[in-house]
Assembly symmetry: C2
Homo-oligomer: 497 residues x 2
């Protein structure tokens, strides 16, 4: 079976080039603030990207894959390795280099234009490049042709195996339920009050505290680091080098919840079994599953009463000026304040899904040409009102808020909400197996949950596709009912309903 | 002349791969302390090294060089670019891959063994790997055959154009002069006292202060960063990304003088003219010239009376507990305390040359097989006594102190002392052109010196070889008399002679 070893080693080199590319990106975002060398660095990144591309589309790659395909008796790992190798090879060979370059160049330009457009609340200036982006993404999808419809092909890039229909069938029934639930909470007589977060919390202390939490959550500082950056992110620079970043510039407790979120991503990558290290399978299996891990730690654990029973005294010590006389009960309620708002990344876990459904439906219409780019602000605002009951006062707080479209990411948004859904279903199973688990959190003990996730999910990396994985773990396909059940069970007591 | 453009671009890609390799190294030393991913990172570094090698030895490289060689009317830059391209190609093609791999593996092993040997003061355990290292370096030199004798070929790797004979002719006459001068100073009736440096200076304040000094010395923080590491170093990750590191673990003021030293290296790389950016010429022309820049800022500027007239009040503010009542005069004398000592990296600028001459002569004898590795400790100690009048009490403080041989660097040491010599000769010219320059330092003004160095040296990168450069700047070949003159003029007043 030396053919499989050849495939494994060959793609390990490509994986290493990806890790190197990740280091170039991490260093850029963490260490090069206000640097003159931005152009030099992007040349370096372009060079590695080119080397990866050249390797992937080479005759040798095709030959190695063909040889491996002849084998019948592959085990789970080998089969998955071959599947991912083939997927990468197909994607890379189906796309003409000219198109790839055009997409990259357009993204660089569109990103810049979008930033200015948002700053100046000037959607019109973004129209030409957004139109071009859509056109290029349509062309890309037509070349890749993974699914009969263009949008599904784009979704598949981030959530392998998922299609528009499959997601629509999941999102559609949950949409009215979410709308109603938001209304119920928002009109509750005894709503939480989150005015405490209008106060100024010292950024350095926030950072220190986030580090304390990472340690307790079993983030492995010998296989990663925490640094500061403008936008928080997680990135793997090696199978044993999974780094996260934190920001302290947003109102409290975004630094804390954001750090826990990134920690969830990192724990997933850190838990991949050694046998897969440096292979093409050494990464989370889909964006949705990845997001399920970050959201489980951020929302289910990190906003639970039990979590705060353990942590609140520490928080009070760090910020006595604001918290000394502020009751735990009120703090926990403030952390779970639900309210329709304009900005997706600041949304609570109840309204969040509606922000995503809006984008999912709009992206579909845009790709299919059912709506024109110039109609976007109007459509955005009217659909936003239908979903959330409020109208963005301007496009900066509306259609212009996200970086994704300007970067050429169409089909990415739905994975965020899929993450919430996967997460609730997995956690339901966790509680069935370990009903007393939340008691752990009260004692600052989080390793039993982590061990379960490692055992059931993390260790496998990309061996199993998302739909197989969820079935292996929970014995059924993705079922959004778990999410609604979770929300109701959690929020009704908090809102006194 | 599109052939020259092709050569330029082709080698720019190789330069970029070198920058990427430098980032992998920088990140390893700065960010990965106590990391599990050491092996993964060295795989990544090995991959980039292999990519550089494969590119250099490819048929295409040979063809591009041959084409360029046909042109007659090359300007200085093109000629130098061709020269360096050819040099890199020749080196890389003359060395069989098996030898390169063997050297790398042996270095990794020898480095480990050396560290243990030094820790345990056990020279014997280092003998087999040092013998193997010498054998491999001899083989390497025989393959490269840049000069008729092996040692010159090895020296040429670090100081292009220099030979054993040329260096010996420079070092030999200065050796007795240095020995005498050290004796004169050491027996002076009114020697400085450096007991002040036995006190504990807060590491964080040292670091802050070193940052203040970097700013004043015009280190460009938009084209570089300062970080902490175990050993201080300077590295270029791009033409506009020249980073330095500082350590605060050694007795004061090593953090300060070390930072100024690295700053001198960085200013050289930062001053290279834009036209050479990302080309094979975008680096200092030799280790000796590089060291002349770091030592000019560290020793000539950074240990001058005028420098301390400006800085001492700030130092007193940072460390009032030690310096408030300690006179400037005494501090300046302490900073220039000369005394024979065992460790090269801790030596003052007078005894330093003798440490190097010792190594230079021993390396020559080792490569030529005139002395055996097993005789080394004895020979080291007896020659050390001849040069410095003291005998190392053990091998850890003697023959085992340096990392170089264990890393396979033979022929590197002489460039350090060449740096001192180049430096004195260049600074003599500086003072002839701008006799009042040191008055600048009293006002915290260091840009006139930097501008001169940029104009005369830095901007050219590797266009001119060291011997051409020194002649262009000073109108004569390297002449060690300037160094002895500098020492006498500086130290006699400090020592009241």
């Amino acid at each position: 079976m030396s053919v499989m070893k050849e495939l494994r080693d060959y793609f390990s080199e490509i994986m290493r080039l990806n890790y190197i590319l990740a280091l170039l990106g991490w260093d850029h975002q963490v260490n090069m603030m206000g640097y003159k060398n931005i152009e030099g660095r992007s040349e370096q990144m372009a060079l590695i990207t080119k080397l990866i591309h050249t390797r992937l589309v080479s005759e040798k790659t095709g030959k190695i894959i063909k040889q491996a395909e002849k084998f019948q008796d592959l085990n789970d790992i080998d089969r998955a390795m071959l599947r991912e190798a083939k997927r990468a090879y197909d994607q890379e060979t189906k796309l003409p280099e000219a198109l790839v370059v055009e997409i990259q160049k357009t993204a660089a330009l569109a990103q810049q234009t979008w930033q200015n457009a948002r700053r100046n609340n000037d959607f019109k200036s973004f129209i030409p490049l957004l139109e071009k982006t859509l056109e290029l993404q349509r062309e890309k999808a037509a070349k890749l042709e993974t699914h009969p419809d263009l949008y599904s092909t784009l979704i598949d890039l981030y959530e392998p195996g998922a299609t528009y229909d499959w997601i629509a069938n999941i999102f559609n029934p949950i949409k009215p339920k979410l709308i109603n639930f938001v209304k119920t909470l928002d009109s509750a007589p005894n709503k939480p009050n989150n005015a405490i977060f209008d106060k100024k919390f010292d950024p350095d202390k926030q950072y220190e505290l986030s580090y304390e939490i990472l340690k307790k959550l079993n983030y492995d500082f010998e296989s990663g680091r925490q640094d500061r950056s403008t936008h928080p992110f997680t990135t793997s620079l090696g199978s044993l080098d999974v780094r996260i970043t934190t920001r302290t510039t947003e109102p409290f407790p975004a630094c804390i919840t954001g750090t826990i979120h990134e920690c969830g991503h990192a724990l997933y990558e850190m838990g991949i079994v050694k046998e897969l290290h440096d292979t093409i399978l050494c990464t989370g299996t889909s964006m949705g599953i990845h997001e399920s891990q970050s959201r489980m730690w951020e929302n289910i654990v990190g906003r639970s009463k039990e979590f705060w029973i353990y942590w609140y005294p520490t928080f009070q010590k760090y910020f006595p000026e604001h918290l000394k006389d502020y009751p735990l009960e009120d703090f926990h309620r403030a952390v779970n304040y639900v309210h329709p708002s304009f900005i997706r990344v600041e949304a609570d876990e109840v309204t969040y899904g509606l922000h995503i459904i809006l984008r999912f439906e709009i992206e579909k219409d845009l790709i299919d040409g059912n709506i024109g780019v110039n109609e976007l602000p109007e459509i955005w605002n009217s659909r936003f009102e239908e979903l959330l009951g409020i109208v963005p006062p301007n496009d900066a707080l509306g259609v212009l808020q996200d970086t994704h479209w300007g970067s050429g990411y169409i089909g990415y948004f739905p994975t965020y909400f899929l993450g919430n859904l996967y997460c609730a279903q997995i956690y339901d199973r966790v509680l069935k197996k370990m009903p007393h688990l939340p008691e752990d959190y009260k004692k600052g003990e989080f390793s039993n949950l982590l061990n379960y996730l490692r055992e059931e999910i993390h260790q496998y990396g990309s061996i199993y596709r998302a739909n197989d994985l969820i079935k292996r773990v929970t014995d059924e396909d993705l079922n959004p009912d778990y999410f609604m059940e979770y929300l109701e069970k959690k929020y009704k007591p908090i809102y006194g309903l």
